[in-house]
Symmetry: C2
């Protein structure tokens, strides 16, 4: 996509405009705390519950913003997207709510709930084999065939602006509570959510470190931040965090993230599953493995946040019962 899109980072005003577009359409998700979680971690932890967002993840914000900003003549033809599931549902929902068709390329191993939900929004789902087919190329061919624009999952200023509204809400909710967090931890796949959040906080809550949390097996952003340039992992990533399987940071997202992010935190699969169990017990929230990566950065290891005030973004809750049961059954079965 590099040659065809405007790769300038969205500015703060673009996020504010996205919030306006989303008003009355997306949920303002709550910032939640629990005595049990705080006691467990010896810290003051606030969960930004994007699992309670429309379609069960933050992705609706970016999809809606992106589609809303398409020129009318392009939008009315419909859209194409590629996604392991959360962006798929989000684009399907946004398209349906705007009365335009959506065609979505999804990997064959996407969670069943994500595929069925995407279809239930009326989208035309085209499955592909993640190991054999390049998803971007597959989607670009679809888009050309259909004469429709692609809604990029992360590497686009309008998508990032939409996700950044999570950061605007965090800042205003923290202000209302009278708290200034010592850090914000955010699940990171392609980096669109955290790029948007960091853009928002740079202006709205400056000086607060924002840490990307990603699967240890897919630590492309962590390694790229350390190297100061985009590093591509060799081949498809295997992790229970199906929503965080990017093999390389986005061009635009990394351009933003390399300037503003604090160091990355690597999450083992078992840590993500444990964080899901903690969210079940302490927060009464259903998180998917990737959505729990931020919380996992706090609940794994040696209480790294003791005595501090942390905002953890819980980015999604679309998980099949089978995986959730695995998380509840604890480490001996993982």
């Amino acid at each position: 996509m590099g040659g065809t899109v405007d790769l300038r980072p969205p500015d703060f005003d673009s996020l504010v405009d996205a919030a306006r577009l989303l008003r009355g359409v997306a949920a303002v998700t709550p910032l939640l705390r629990s005595d049990a979680l705080d006691a467990r971690l010896g810290a003051s932890v606030w969960i930004k519950a994007e699992c309670l967002q429309r379609t069960g993840s933050f992705k609706f914000r970016g999809a809606w913003t992106n589609i809303s900003r398409l020129p009318e003549d392009r939008r009315r033809r419909g859209v194409v997207a590629y996604s392991s599931g959360n962006h798929a549902q989000a684009v399907a929902a946004a398209a349906r709510l705007q009365n335009i068709p959506a065609t979505i390329a999804m990997p064959l191993d996407a969670p069943a709930i994500k595929r069925s939900r995407t279809e239930s929004w009326g989208a035309d789902v085209r499955p592909f084999d993640r190991d054999a087919v390049d998803r971007v190329g597959f989607a670009e061919a679809l888009a050309e065939d259909l004469g429709r624009p692609i809604v990029p999952p992360y590497d686009h200023p309008d998508t990032i602006a939409g996700q950044g509204t999570v950061g605007l809400e965090i800042a205003s909710q923290c202000r209302a509570l009278g708290i200034v967090p010592d850090a914000v931890v955010v699940p990171c796949g392609g980096g669109g959510l955290i790029a948007g959040i960091a853009t928002a906080l740079k202006t709205a809550m400056p000086g607060v470190p924002v840490h990307p949390c990603e699967p240890a097996a897919g630590n492309d952003t962590l390694r790229s931040l350390e190297a100061g340039r985009r590093i591509a992992l060799p081949g498809p990533v295997r992790s229970v965090c199906d929503s965080l399987l990017a093999e390389t940071p986005g061009e635009l997202t990394f351009e933003i993230n390399r300037q503003v992010l604090a160091p990355g935190i690597a999450i083992e699969d078992a840590d993500a599953l444990h964080a899901m169990q903690v969210a079940f017990e302490d927060m009464k929230l259903v998180l998917e493995p990737g959505g729990a990566a931020g919380l996992a950065a706090l609940t794994s290891g040696e209480k790294p946040c003791r005595g501090r005030t942390i905002v953890a973004v819980a980015s999604g809750g679309n998980v099949d019962a089978e995986i959730f049961v695995r998380a509840l059954n604890g480490p001996e079965t993982q």
Copy 2:
């Protein structure tokens, strides 16, 4: 307790005062919707998510209000309570936050998470056998021994006033959303929550029917409403809805409820478990069986709410993993 407490129903102003006492202490829980749930039911459903309340259920509201209104000389000696779990945790938390001791009588078969959470608040837990011991008598003996007041789980005007703040929030949240529900469905055990909610709505959102939802095996309120007088069930109730096991409506709660409630709805155990599964999939919320009784009234049977706008109170989320897994595994294992 009949002889010793003031059995006048709380008025609307008492609820408003309770809301003032709870400000900054209890959560204002969100009123949530989901496209998936609405599509499933062909209705517009709003979930008042009290599972996200402090201690994981609405009970904190009543416990805090009740303890806060004790005369200073009685309060400082500490409190006694009896409860299968949610009221236990709530009293333990409220007492701890007010720096007074709490002694709590809990049945031996209370869910493990409820007992451990009560103990983690520093309460002195006294287990008893539900089949062999009268819980009220047991708690009254404890209270006399210790020279402390009992915090009644439902049959007290201050407890009811606290729970009624759920209704105040529903009314103000509905107003902000521009909706007027066709009905409100509320899980019902001793009847304190629904008595408080109905008291709030009678003034704040008049004319909206409020339906109690209770286990079919413990339908004391349903039968009492039909009979126009309090009916006691013969012996201990067996249901997966451990938080709704009252054998008879409270005196004061029934005095309120018989005047204001719409007909009761009986919930089978399998319906409550199914509603938990629906809340997992569609809402990303963890509900306990009793907390899902309101939603179960909508998700069981022949789409009874088709075309209507309903508020369902999800009263709690304190459930052991074992029961939650049973709910996720579906009817064949129930």
